[in-house]
C-alpha cells in the first residue's frame, strides 16, 4: 500500500510499504477514505518529539471502511464506516474505566521508554513515535486498529467524511480544552492560537456557555476564521500588546479561563526573544518553547483556569510558576480522551449544532502529503487544515 512515512527532520515521503495485518485478536483493518494532517504531526516533522525512526508511518486522524476484523472484535463487521480516535485504549484498565482513555495503562507496548521520560507511560498513539507505542499511523491506504472493539465509532448517518473526520482528534480536543475550563455563565475565555484545534476550542467554549471568547494569533486569515466561523473577538499578537489588550477587554480582570492551543513550537513576535527559545530548543537545553503558555499564565484572572491542550514534549525554561501559584490558578491538561466525546459530539453534528468541515482549506491526494506538510507548516496559501485522500 501507499503510506506517508517520516524520513528525518522536515522530510516525509509517500512510499510503498506492506499492507497491515491483524496482530492481536481485537484488531481491525480499516481502508482509509480520509485522513488529515495535525499540528501534532508538525512537532514530529520538525523533529521535536524523540524516538522517531525513519520509515515510521505518520498520521493519527483518519476514518474509513472496516475490511477485516480479528476474532475478538464483536462490535464491528466488514463494511462498517468508522472514525478512529487517535489514542489507543484497551477499555478495561482502571484509567479507561475512569474515562481517562489517553492514559490507558495497556496500549503502549513500549511503556518502558515512556516511563524513563515521564515516570509513567501514557496510551499508545497512532503514528506518534516509538515512545508512544511504535504504531503505524493513518496517512496511508490502510491501517491496523488495535482494540477495535473499544475505539472506532460507526457512522451510520449519511454525513460526509469531512463532517465527521475530526471526531478522531481536533473536535474532541478543542471540546475538552473548553470543558476543562469549567465554564460558568458570564465567563470570558481566551484562546491562544487560531489553528484548527483552537477553532474547535472557540466553538466549544460557546457551546458550553461562554459569554465571550477571545482568540490570539498572528495570522490574520486564521483570526478571520475565528471571527467569522467561531464568533470570537481577536487579538493579533504581532500588532498588539496581548496582555494590555486582554486587560482592557475584560475590564481589568483578565480572562476567567485561558486555553493554550499552541503548544511546544510557540512563536514570539520579538525576534530576539524568539531566537532565545529557538536556540535553547535546538541545543536541547529545553525542548519546549513557552511563549504562549507563559503569557497565558500572566494574563489569567486570579483564581482562573489554565487549560493546556497544545502539546508539550519535555522541559521548558523560565516558566512563571510564581504567578501560577500565587494567583491560585487551576491547571487542567492532557492528550484528549477522545473516546468519551465521540458519541455526544457526533450527536451535536447530527443535530446540526456544528459542522466541523469549516476548518478544511486544502484537499490533496495522499501522494501529495509532502506538499501538504510544507503548506500547513509555513501557513502558506491561507492553510488551516489539510485533508488527504488515499
Amino acid at each position: 500500500m501507499r503510506a506517508n512515512v517520516w524520513s528525518g527532520r522536515n522530510t516525509v515521503q509517500v512510499e510503498n510499504v506492506p499492507d497491515p495485518k491483524i496482530m492481536n485478536s481485537r484488531d481491525a483493518i480499516v481502508r482509509i477514505t480520509s485522513t488529515a494532517i495535525c499540528g501534532s504531526d508538525l512537532h514530529l516533522y520538525d523533529g521535536y518529539i524523540p524516538t522517531m525512526k525513519r520509515g515510521d508511518i505518520l498520521g493519527h486522524e483518519f476514518m474509513g471502511e472496516v475490511v477485516e476484523v480479528g476474532k475478538g472484535v464483536g462490535s464491528l463487521t466488514v463494511g462498517d464506516r468508522v472514525v478512529v480516535p487517535f489514542p489507543i485504549a484497551c477499555g478495561s484498565c482502571n484509567q479507561c474505566r475512569r474515562g481517562l482513555f489517553s492514559v490507558c495503562e495497556n496500549s503502549n507496548p513500549n511503556a518502558r521508554i515512556a516511563e524513563k521520560l515521564m515516570g509513567h507511560s501514557t496510551a499508545g498513539i497512532f503514528g506518534y513515535s516509538h515512545m508512544l507505542g511504535g504504531y503505524a499511523g493513518g496517512q496511508a491506504e490502510y491501517a491496523r486498529v488495535p482494540f477495535a472493539d473499544v475505539g472506532p465509532i460507526k457512522i451510520e448517518s449519511g454525513l460526509a467524511d469531512e463532517q465527521v473526520l475530526f471526531l478522531s482528534d481536533i473536535f474532541p480536543t478543542g471540546y475538552m480544552g473548553a470543558e476543562m475550563c469549567d465554564i460558568k455563565p458570564g465567563d470570558v475565555v481566551a484562546v491562544w492560537g487560531a489553528g484548527p484545534v483552537a477553532q474547535f476550542a472557540i466553538a466549544s467554549a460557546y457551546l458550553l456557555g461562554a459569554e465571550r471568547v477571545i482568540a490570539i494569533d498572528r495570522f490574520e486569515y486564521r483570526l478571520q476564521m475565528a471571527r467569522e466561523k467561531g464568533g470570537a473577538e481577536t487579538i493579533n499578537y504581532a500588532e498588539t500588546n496581548v496582555l494590555e489588550a486582554l486587560r482592557e477587554m475584560t475590564g481589568g480582570r483578565g480572562p476567567d479561563a485561558c486555553i493554550d492551543a499552541v503548544g511546544m513550537e510557540a512563536h514570539h513576535h520579538n525576534p530576539g526573544l524568539h531566537a532565545y527559545d529557538r536556540v535553547k530548543q535546538a541545543t536541547r537545553l529545553e525542548t519546549d518553547r513557552g511563549h504562549a503558555l507563559r503569557q497565558a499564565v500572566i494574563a489569567c484572572r486570579p483564581g482562573g483556569t489554565l487549560s493546556i491542550i497544545g502539546v508539550y514534549g519535555g522541559l521548558m525554561d523560565k516558566f512563571p510558576i510564581g504567578a501560577l501559584m500565587n494567583k491560585g490558578l487551576t491547571v487542567r491538561t492532557g492528550q484528549c480522551h477522545v473516546h468519551r466525546y465521540l458519541r455526544p459530539l457526533l450527536q451535536r453534528i447530527e443535530q446540526g449544532e456544528i459542522d466541523p468541515s469549516f476548518v478544511v482549506t486544502h484537499r490533496l491526494s495522499l501522494d501529495d502529503a509532502p506538499t501538504g506538510y510544507e503548506t500547513f507548516k509555513h501557513k502558506r496559501d491561507d492553510c488551516v487544515k489539510v485533508v488527504l485522500k488515499p
Partner: protein, 337 residues
C-alpha cells in the same frame, strides 16, 4: 557453577563507603581543571607550553566545558560510573590534543611533554576507578534498591516490581498459580511443565542465546495471598521468586508484588553484558508484570509494528520502523496463537 552468593558479597561493600572518595577526588580535580580552562584558556595554554592562539584557546575552552560537565556528573550523581568513564574518554582526547600540540605549536616542548606525562597518570587513575565502579555496579545495581529481606534467596541478582491489575485477587492468584501460564508474559521463560503437586520443570533463554533448565518447587502457597518458589539442586540457574497479592484500594483490583532472585549466568560480567542489551533485571521484571497485566485485563500481550514480538528487551532498545511487517507477525508467545 560457582557459588553466586559468594560473588555478591565480595566486591567493595555497600554504596557510600570509602572507595567512593576516589570518584569524589576525580570530580573535584575535573572542577579545578575546568574553571581556569574556561576562564583563562590562554594562561593555561602557556603554562603547559602551547602556543597561545585562537585555535588553542578554542580547544582549551572546549576541554574546560567538558571537565565541568564531568565534575557535575561525578559529584552530583548517586552512580557516577558513566561520568568517570567519560573522564577516561576525555583523557584520551587530551592526549591526542597534546600530541597535536607537540607536532604543531608547542612553543615549550618540555612543558608539553611534562603535561602529557601528567595526563597519562591521570588516565590510569580514571581507568582504574571506572573499572572498580563498573564492577561494583554489575553486582550491585539490582540489589542496591531491591535487597532481599529473607537473605537466603538464591543468586546475587535481585529484582522486584509492583503493578495493579483490575481483577479480583482470587482470579489473579489462580492464573499465577498455574505456572504453565508463565511463558505468556515472562520474556525469558520458554516453557513450564507441571511435574508434580508442587513441582515444575522450567526452560528459559539466557543472554547470548543460551538455554537453561531447572526443576522448581513451590515453597509457599496461600490462597489469594502469596506464592513462593525456588529452583532445586542441579539447576542451570539458581533462582527463586515470591509473588504477593494485595487488595488494591477502592475497586481497583489487585496489587501484585513480585520479587525474583537469580544467579546471572556468567556472574557479574554476564550481568554487565546483559545490561548493555537492555536486560536490566528490575526493568525486566517490570516488563514481565506489564505483560501479565495486559494478559489479565485485555486477554493477550499487546503488539505494535515497532515491537511486533511484544516487549522484548532487545527490540525495545532497537525498534523496527512503525510500518507493517513484510511477513506474518512473529506470533510469539503472548501474541495471538
Amino acid at each position: 557453577m560457582a557459588d553466586p552468593v559468594q560473588a555478591s558479597s565480595s566486591p567493595s561493600g555497600p554504596p557510600g563507603r570509602p572507595g567512593d572518595n576516589v570518584s569524589r577526588a576525580l570530580g573535584l580535580f575535573s572542577a579545578a581543571l575546568g574553571v581556569p580552562q574556561v576562564v583563562a584558556p590562554g594562561r593555561v595554554a602557556r603554562l603547559i607550553g602551547l602556543k597561545d592562539d585562537g585555535r588553542t584557546r578554542f580547544w582549551m575552552r572546549a576541554v574546560g566545558v567538558r571537565e565541568l560537565a564531568a565534575a557535575t556528573g561525578i559529584l552530583t550523581r548517586r552512580r557516577p560510573t558513566g561520568w568517570v568513564w567519560s573522564r577516561v574518554a576525555g583523557d584520551t582526547m587530551d592526549l591526542a590534543l597534546l600530541r597535536a600540540g607537540l607536532g604543531r605549536k608547542a612553543v615549550r616542548p618540555t612543558r608539553t611533554v611534562i603535561a602529557t606525562g601528567a595526563v597519562l597518570g591521570v588516565t590510569a587513575a580514571d581507568a582504574a576507578e571506572s573499572v572498580r565502579l563498573t564492577r561494583r555496579e554489575a553486582v550491585q545495581t539490582p540489589s542496591a534498591s531491591t535487597a532481599s529481606q529473607d537473605g537466603k534467596a538464591a543468586g546475587p541478582m535481585h529484582a522486584r516490581a509492583a503493578i495493579t491489575v483490575r481483577r479480583p485477587r482470587k482470579e489473579v492468584y489462580a492464573f499465577w498459580h498455574d505456572f504453565e501460564n508463565m511463558p505468556q508474559f515472562m520474556a525469558h521463560v520458554e516453557s513450564v511443565q507441571i511435574t508434580g503437586i508442587r513441582r515444575s520443570h522450567w526452560v528459559a533463554t539466557a543472554p547470548a542465546g543460551r538455554r537453561v533448565e531447572w526443576d522448581a518447587e513451590m515453597t509457599a502457597d496461600e490462597e489469594a495471598k502469596l506464592i513462593a518458589w525456588r529452583s532445586l539442586e542441579g539447576a542451570d540457574v539458581e533462582n527463586s521468586g515470591t509473588v504477593r497479592f494485595l487488595k488494591a484500594p477502592g475497586d481497583q483490583g489487585t496489587e501484585i508484588q513480585l520479587e525474583l532472585h537469580y544467579a546471572m549466568p556468567g556472574g557479574a560480567l554476564g550481568a554487565a553484558v546483559a545490561k548493555l542489551f537492555g536486560e536490566e533485571p528490575s526493568q525486566q521484571v517490570r516488563d514481565d508484570l506489564r505483560r501479565f497485566k495486559q494478559v489479565m485485563e485485555t486477554g493477550e500481550v499487546v503488539l505494535s509494528d515497532g515491537s511486533p514480538e511484544g516487549t522484548l528487551a532487545i527490540r525495545l532498545a532497537r525498534q523496527r520502523p512503525a510500518h507493517p511487517l513484510e511477513s506474518e507477525p512473529i506470533g510469539t508467545k503472548g501474541g495471538p496463537s
